[in-house]
């Protein structure tokens, strides 16, 4: 439950309103990517490599091409520009951050499941048969599957470059070695986290066709409609001849930030001149599309006896898989946030992203922050234990506050209320639960986190939104956001309705269409509310100002005395004079005063420094919060039951209380899955968890009711002082759960997920160590 609905200075902002997109969804009427079919649609399938590392000796497509019902079989040589630089909706070049995007494998395959050929046919069955008729001769290569191995000078080269290192970053502040020498407590550990799959319930899907105006149109499940530029580049078409439409998405979580089906569909539709549809199977989605990065993380943390952190040294090695995609960006996030929401005078971070022949890795809710949060929050508990302090007491002595510097030297500018979130999260756990049996152990844990919202300042991020009245007083918003399910367009409707004095039902939001909606950037990086919310606010205020000015003229009053609400303009303090919204709209229209406005919002921007040394401001701002968990561990089976979960965050200002609460609940659940269940297992590049009975995600029976605590400092950079919470809500959830497990069993597991097998092994090893200690003591006693 959240804070009670307190009185607010806003009419609609902060209220718990049913989302405007939810009605169609409960009726089952929302048309997701695969729910849309054009007449005469062909069905596409993708031939994927059966090897993780191989040379392609030859590809013979002739038999497939001859099959009745097959309209196109494409390989790398059919792609006008098969290799481009992967951009992610940004309009500003980001130099070294941009990696190779290869549409179809050429000469070499770099991971199992890499696309080798495309087929379009009359039916899905025919397309599947055609795939089997394509003869690819591979020459298997040894490959390399461990990023630490891949760093070695003589390691197999995954790509065409002379090294497997994608990028390296470092942070240097103070002198860690001197601090370690002086410190009272030094704790050193190595942590490992696994590959993760997003399991958006809607697999990758889309349909492409050539419209009557000759524009290649792609309607696909994507978080980035601005991949239209990449698609145009791949086909060597002008950018204005490719249109991308994103309907409502069945989840994204970062997995639909990279191109998925768009390029394949575009190539096939352009070749066949027919509409083409492609929906991945779940197996295909898990096998071939991006994963969360596994990391190997070596942490060394030092504190003084009075509980002050004095140094943190981190070495991060990230497995980028077969292609870079967003690995450089994700690694940069990890580098900046490696030391968490703590004030530390001496910091040393060295981070490397390394290619392997595993499935490629890229964006996943948290974008490099959850990996390091698991490590630094495990370290915090370990150091606290050595100091004899409680996890909360130790953290309270070290949290960052407004004005404090990160390791990069950037001083935090906005509100930082981590202390309050931690105290309230822990308090919300209430009385400890009693064990149900002698072999059940109860444990509690907290974890605090920091996570950026908004994209890297290097990207010069911007968003645009159009807000306008129709003559009947209804409102249209055109904003090129993608609605991935978090209430993105509903929040835009709510902001617009607030400013223009209408109800949410009066607002229609057109979204996600490069031809119809002003480009608003990606729905990623917890940036949508911050960027497009601000752009919409700016546009709505401009419309309001124009109308108020006109109304003031008509009412013969100064504009600052005009109140606009409930579709009426009134002179403050004068009950006799008012105008209806329609009257003012008609007067404006008649006088040639625009009823609409197109506004742009620009985030803070910096130029890219071509240096591995990360310094200064990297993100616009950060969100801070704390998770708390109580777990029961069955020491006979190793099974963990999550009894209580709390998420306490400074959200700045909730726009829609229901949506904000929903993000906190869902993000927390996602983190609990990361802690206990989720693990894409690969055996020499072959994914062995290609279905949802082997890749486990939390079900309703695995989770308790998540308690959410929203603090509204009003200190964010989003509209009305909002901060972003889409990703932050997930970041610190996993270490809260694992810290609770460590508290329960007295042993800290340094590898995710904390599975029953690992718990039992740790308990056995712990018992063996105790037995060993006892047996060695016996002679001394005797």
């Amino acid at each position: 439950m959240t804070d009670a609905d307190k009185p607010t200075k806003y009419r609609l902002i902060g209220l718990a309103l049913p989302r405007h997109d939810a009605l169609d969804k409960v009726y089952g009427q929302t048309k997701y990517a695969d729910d849309f079919t054009m007449p005469g649609t062909l069905h596409a399938k993708v031939l994927r490599s059966r090897y993780a590392a191989a040379r392609i000796v030859s590809i013979d497509t002739s038999a497939a091409e001859r099959m009745p019902g097959v309209h196109a079989v494409l390989t790398a040589r059919d792609v006008p520009r098969n290799e481009t630089t992967s951009k992610f909706g940004q309009t500003h070049s980001a130099g070294g951050f941009e990696g190779l995007y290869r549409v179809l494998a050429d000469k070499k395959v770099r991971y199992m499941g890499e696309a080798v050929a495309l087929v379009a046919a009359e039916t899905p069955e025919t397309a599947a048969q055609a795939l089997r008729a394509i003869d690819v001769v591979y020459e298997p290569q040894p490959g390399v599957f461990d990023p630490v191995e891949a760093l070695k000078p003589d390691a197999y080269r995954v790509g065409e470059e002379d090294t497997n290192v994608v990028c390296s970053y470092k942070v240097r502040k103070g002198d860690v070695d001197a601090a370690f020498a002086r410190a009272d407590v030094v704790v050193e550990n190595e942590y490992r986290v696994p590959f993760g799959d997003h399991v958006y319930l809607e697999p990758e899907s889309g349909t492409a066709w050539i419209d009557e105006d000759g524009v290649l149109t792609i309607r696909a499940s994507t978080q980035v409609i601005e991949h239209f530029r990449d698609v145009a580049d791949i086909l060597r078409l002008p950018h204005n001849k490719v249109r991308v439409i994103a309907p409502m998405l069945g989840g994204g979580f970062g997995g639909k930030e990279d191109i998925t089906v768009e390029a394949y569909l575009a190539l096939l539709a352009y070749r066949t001149k027919r509409p083409v549809k492609l929906t991945y199977t779940r197996e295909e989605s898990i096998l071939s599309h991006s994963k969360r990065h596994p990391y190997v993380m070596r942490y060394k943390t030092a504190a003084t006896a009075d509980g002050k952190l004095v140094a943190m040294e981190c070495e991060l090695i990230s497995d980028a898989g077969g292609y870079p995609f967003l690995s450089p960006w994700v690694l940069l996030y990890s580098t900046v946030m490696a030391t968490g929401p703590y004030k530390i005078p001496n910091v040393k971070v060295d981070a490397h992203a390394v290619l392997t022949n595993n499935t490629f890795t890229s964006a996943y809710r948290g974008f490099g922050a959850p990996q390091v949060c698991f490590a630094y929050e495990s370290q915090m508990d370990a150091v606290a234990a050595q100091l004899g302090l409680t996890p909360l007491a130790f953290r309270m002595k070290n949290y960052l506050h407004t004005g404090d510097e990160l390791g990069t030297g950037y001083a935090l500018e906005s509100a930082v209320l981590t202390d309050e979130t931690a105290e309230r999260a822990l308090a919300a756990l209430g009385e400890p639960t009693k064990p149900r049996s002698p072999w059940e152990k109860i444990g509690r844990g907290i974890a605090s986190g920091m996570q950026s919202y908004g994209r890297l300042v290097y990207l010069h991020d911007s968003s645009r939104s159009f807000v306008g009245f129709e003559l009947d007083g209804t409102v249209v918003v055109r904003c090129g956001v993608q609605d991935i399910g978090g209430g993105q367009t509903s929040s835009i409707a709510q902001i617009t309705a607030e400013v223009l004095g209408v109800s949410m039902q009066d607002v229609t939001v057109y979204f996600g269409d490069t031809a119809l909606t002003p480009l608003a950037g990606t729905t990623t990086a917890t940036r949508m509310l911050y960027m497009s919310g601000n752009a919409t606010l700016k546009a709505a205020r401009a419309v309001r100002d124009a109308l108020v000015t006109k109304a003031a003229e008509m009412l013969d009053a100064s504009p600052d005395r005009i109140a606009m609400a409930d579709k009426t303009f009134r002179v403050v303090g004068d009950k006799d004079h008012s105008l209806s919204l329609i009257e003012v709209l008609e007067a404006c229209a008649s006088d040639g005063i625009p009823l609409s406005n197109l506004a742009q919002f620009n985030a803070p921007a910096r130029e890219v420094k071509e240096s591995a040394n990360v310094e200064g401001q990297i993100h616009p701002d950060y969100t801070f919060g704390t998770h708390a968990a109580e777990v029961a561990v069955d020491t006979v089976t190793g099974q963990v039951t999550v009894l209580k979960l709390v998420a306490a965050f400074d959200v700045g200002q909730a726009i829609n209380r229901l949506s904000a609460e929903g993000q906190l609940e869902g993000g927390t659940a996602c983190g609990a899955g990361y802690a206990l269940l989720e693990d894409v297992k690969m055996d020499r590049g072959r994914t062995v968890t290609c279905a949802l009975d082997t890749y486990l995600v939390p079900t309703a029976a695995d989770l308790p009711d998540v308690t959410t605590i929203m603090i509204e400092s009003g200190g964010g950079m989003g509209p009305f002082g909002a901060k972003g919470i889409g990703e932050p809500s997930s970041t610190s959830s996993a270490p809260a759960v694992t810290n609770a497990v460590a508290d329960a069993i007295g042993i800290r597991l340094t590898r995710l997920p904390v599975s029953p097998e690992r718990i039992l092994t740790a308990l056995k090893e712990g018992q063996a160590k105790r037995d060993d200690a006892v047996s060695r003591r016996v002679p001394e006693l005797a």
């Binding site: 409960v26 089952g28 997003h198 697999p203 209430g487 927390t668 309703a700």
Partner: protein, 179 residues
Amino acid sequence: MLTSCTNAIVLTVNGDDHMLVVEPNDLLINVLRNDLGLTGAKYGCGTGQCGACTVLIDGQPTLSCITLAVACDGKKVTTIEGITGPDGGLHPIQEEFLNENAVQCGFCTPGMILMAGDLLQRNPHPTEDEIRHHIKGNICRCTGYNGIVRAIQNAAQRMAAGEKPLEALGTTVREVVKR
């Protein structure tokens, strides 16, 4: 073109009889989505592990992505499109899904609502634990299930107080679909 293997079947879907000609390996989800245009049942995994394709067959929750259409000959199928409240408006379960923000991306929603209806018909006063176990075959990746569980609890209270249970609609012949 009919082959010797095709079968003519009759499905009563949301109260309407449909005569369909299907292949022996046609899955119910594809017949509903592609032939009848009822896209409320979703493909999420194709292996019966996520619950997004849930429909009711003769009142029983069934995974339409692993059910052969021929096996449903003569049966009553209820999809999300067949669920409405007393006046054709929102059913109490749907209304509570809205009120409690049980809907985020909405892709699991049709299956969740049908499972909720099934539960409340069998067990009008479920505990939170019973609700969680009843819907554990339906994956939701957005909500953490909080809103969904709350919505089902609220709907249970309202329906116990006399509001309409979830039931299939009356039968009328509306269209015959040929392939």
